[in-house]
Symmetry: none
Subunit: 199 residues, 2 copies
């Protein structure tokens, strides 16, 4: 739903205030900035902005009108580098980012890797694909994880955790599952999305 003119003014004023002071204004302070005399009136505008998801809702626990953080780059994630069986994640020197639609990520922190190699080809993950990884240190059995093995190499595999051992299962007839001790495998994240460009 589009904002009314006054709501737009309030939003502009909030952005201005954030740029100037970096502090969250109170309703009374906003009233003065906007030339209003009643908090009650302004409150309705702020509620509308909250309904639009532009302002942090404050459920009586703290004060101050906080803008929601940067809705613009909400759809970009850091592209950390490449993941290949046999090598640690090749970090890119420059901090690169890549646009990811919300459907391909979760609400928790995520990052993106580019796949090298065909070890997960039969799971539909090919050489050159981009994979979205949710930053997490535990996984459920059967999930595909980015795992650091003995602090040396990082790989993308399906994980099966049993008492006393962890098995990383590739999706490729030419490769075999490998069994590790639990302390050898550090989960760095869980696969939540994948995408590929053909052109």
């Amino acid at each position: 739903m589009p904002l009314t003119p006054r709501q737009q003014q309030v939003l502009d004023c909030l952005r201005q205030h954030a740029a100037d002071f970096g502090r969250a204004p109170t309703l009374d302070g906003l009233c003065r900035l906007l030339g209003l005399r009643s908090r009650g009136s302004l409150h309705k505008h702020v509620q509308a902005l909250i309904a639009e998801g532009l302002v942090e809702p404050l459920n009586g626990h703290h004060r101050g009108i906080h803008l929601v953080t940067q809705s613009t780059d909400e759809n970009t994630l850091p592209l950390l580098g490449k993941i290949a069986a046999g090598r640690p994640i090749e970090a890119l020197p420059q901090s690169d980012t890549i646009e990811i639609p919300p459907r391909l990520r979760t609400s928790r922190p995520c990052y993106v890797l580019q796949v090298t190699g065909d070890s997960m080809a039969e799971a539909g993950i090919l050489d050159g694909d981009f994979v979205v990884i949710e930053r997490r240190e535990t996984a459920r059995n059967g999930e595909i994880v980015a795992a650091l093995i003995r602090g040396e190499e990082t790989t993308l595999k399906r994980i099966v955790q049993e008492p006393g051992r962890v098995t990383l299962v590739p999706a490729n007839r030419g490769l075999s599952p490998v069994v590790y001790a639990p302390e050898e495998v550090a989960i760095q994240g869980v696969l939540v999305g994948q995408m590929r460009a053909y052109h």
Copy 2:
């Protein structure tokens, strides 16, 4: 139904206003811009534009004359429906859209389909994946296309075109390539991107 000269003038004025201010004008504001004195008169023209589908209908819920946004968000594409071997594209009743990062599409018109079935599984396209299709009627050999066969069924396959015959090649050991006469196969678009969510 064609627009009357005055309706065209109102439409031009609306586009001008959107370009200048990015805000929806009110009927009174439009009157001033057009040199009119009565909202009631202008209202009839706006109603005509709504009937033509050029202006957002506002059913007393909000104010301001909004132009209909045609592909306003350049990162969203229409999600037309599902594509399955053996059936035409199942059109979704409601016109749905889906966010697609620029990397997964081309600069030409594209749309999105959701894949049903595993006929392209060995090319890394699984059941449930979303594929981005560039709207095009010709393809190069080896490209993956959405093709309409005999006007009946639509399918996603790799295409090989030779003089006098067209072969559609699935990527699945259990399925065989099928040869058609060129006039039996109508290319509806070419695969340019693919994505999958795991959660």
